[in-house]
Amino acid sequence: MLLSPNAMGRRLRYGLFCTTAIIALFLLLPIVFIVLLSFGSSQWLIFPPPGWTLKWYGQFFANEQWMTSALVSLKVAVLTTICALALGLPAAFALVRGRFPGRELLYALFTLPMIVPLVIIAVAVYALFLKLGYTGTLFAFVVSHVIVALPFTVISLINSLKLFDQAIEDAAVICGASRLQAILKVTFPAIRPGIVAGALFAFLVSWDEVVLSVMMASPSLQTLPVKMWTTLRQDLTPVIAVASTLLIGLSFLVMLIAALLRRRTSPTR
């Protein structure tokens, strides 16, 4: 056998291993680079760092502007998550269960923000909010972030709802639960992994969103990525590396929690 795993396999496996390792390294390198720089003693972001310090972390946490923007980021991300779920859940039910003309079209519409260039959405939303006088408000941040987060949430919810056997919900109904009770008490707990994933996607999209946020920001209200962006244009301080590290750190933490939750909710056999 020419392609038997034993004859061909060894060299192939070695090759695959190397390719995967290189790709992983390529993906990880910027993160490792920035994390190391945040602990480096040079204020010019020299690599490799001549020495190690926690000075920049001290500066970050002592600076009220950095702390405020981090808090704004957190607030916007949490609100975006809540809104994306509140809109995404009914939308997913309609798209999976509904039998109406234009269902496919509606699905396409919901996923459109993934395809349309971000800048175009940003300009459109900015123009609208500028006219309405909403720029620089929390509302503007949340609305614009929900637009780009919703496709991820909806797709995640749709996938888990498609896998869910509706007869289970019908069973709850015939047991005496109203349709709403059945959805709340049976369907939601059953598709919880999908809901959690959808929420995390929304959170992460909002947490590191910069294009829309730059448009929505005002000097008094800006998210962490916006603060980084504006700071970067003035000077190249290692505090930016600290902010980056914290940004990555929280994203990483969220993914970790998701993985742990998934392990706990998946049925043991």
Binding site: D170, I174, C175, R179, Q181, P189
Partner: protein, 380 residues
């Protein structure tokens, strides 16, 4: 005294459920076609039919998941049409168990009681009783995914019975299980029904299962009920050629009526049960394979009165352990299958000339039939 007696007789006369002129259309497709049926208190009634025959749609309308296009569903004289499924007080067991994956066995069974906000001690008592009934006491804390298919289905049955519904609907509940387990659960289910005396409406496409379980069977075809009665009656005296070919195996012989009790079949005169049909009308005789006998040409056994005999040629003999299946062809080209005991007769071999006999009383006679009804038996 007499008033009481009249009351009970009336109660027996009014059915628990009455389906009246029920229709369900999906666009141009007629899923259920002007169907009427009475379901009696305490009976085990099975809807039997192939897929797309309307049996599941009828069950869904009874449960309330489908709304009839027209017609009426009455339970104890009250219309169910505008009652949502969760208020119908009906229990249902689904084909794929449909247990709540995030709840334990106990949680699943107590779900209907929790929804009804039953007192905790009463709830506890009923759940324990159900666990005992389906013999799953030691599995109460397990999740559905930790149970076998048979155990899951027993949980589903307990969950459907715990709130003591008026009617229990079962939609091919054993379809996903393997044969041996299915037979065990069929016996369990039959005993459960006879013990609890609940009304069960059961849907299946498996005729053996229908026979094993039910007191009455309704045979569905193209959205209509084409046969209704006990399994025995339907098998021995099928009301029409479709039911005859659908249930079990059957031989069909086409002939012309020459008298009220005689038929011309391939130049032979055959006796039949007396019919009230015009002379020279085409009729169809149906003989079950086990009701016919096959004998060698030279067998000395005399022909009993009331029996028919035709000659035929053996085309194939298949040994099945407890019986033999012998296929024969008449000179006119009609094919018959005869089920015979493997012993007691001279061995049959293909090509041999034989005599096939059956009692006239054992043959059913039909004056109307569709060619499609008969070819179905060939597909079996």
């Amino acid at each position: 005294m007499s008033a009481v007696i009249t009351d009970t007789s009336q109660a027996a006369a009014t059915p628990l459920v009455r389906l009246s002129k029920l229709n369900k259309h999906y666009g141009d497709f007629v899923a259920v076609d002007n169907l009427s049926l009475d379901i009696h208190e305490g009976e085990f009634l099975t809807f039997l039919g192939s897929s797309g025959s309307g049996k599941s749609t009828t069950l869904s309308m009874l449960a309330g998941f489908e709304t009839p296009s027209s017609g009426e569903i009455l339970v104890q004289g009250k219309s169910l049409i505008n009652v949502p499924p969760h208020k119908r007080d009906i229990g249902m067991v689904f084909q794929r168990y449909s247990l709540f994956p995030h709840l334990s066995v106990r949680g699943n069974i107590s779900f209907p009681l929790d929804i009804r906000k039953l007192a905790a001690d009463e709830c506890e008592r009923r759940v324990e009783a159900m666990l005992k009934l389906v013999q799953l006491e030691s599995f109460a804390h397990r999740r559905p995914s930790q149970l076998s298919g048979g155990q899951q289905q027993r949980v589903a049955i307990a969950r459907a019975l715990v709130y003591e519904p008026r009617i229990l609907l079962m939609d091919e509940p054993l379809g996903a299980l393997d044969k041996k387990l299915r037979e065990d659960l069929q016996d369990e289910l039959r005993h459960l029904h006879r013990r609890l005396g609940i009304t069960i409406v059961y849907v299946t496409h498996d005729q053996e299962e229908a026979m094993r379980l039910s007191q009455r069977i309704a045979i569905f075809s193209h959205g209509r009920i084409v046969g209704l009665g006990t399994g025995q009656t339907l098998y021995q005296n099928p009301p029409n050629a479709f039911v005859a070919s659908f249930l079990g195996n059957s031989n069909f012989l086409q002939g012309t009526l020459t008298g009220n009790a005689s038929v011309q079949f391939e130049q032979q005169a055959l006796a039949i049960k007396p019919q009230n049909l015009p002379l020279n009308s085409d009729v169809l005789l149906m003989v079950r394979p086990e009701k016919a006998q096959v004998l060698p040409l030279d067998a000395p056994t005399p022909l009993l009165t009331g029996w028919n005999e035709i000659t035929a040629q053996v085309s194939e003999v298949v040994f099945l352990g407890d019986s033999l299946t012998c296929s024969v062809v008449t000179p006119g080209g009609s094919r018959l299958t005869v089920k015979a005991l493997p012993h007691g007769q001279a061995p049959l071999h293909s090509g041999a000339q034989v005599r096939v006999r059956w009692a006239a009383a054992d043959a059913c006679v039909y004056s109307e039939w569709n060619a499609a009804d008969l070819s179905k038996s060939a597909a079996h």
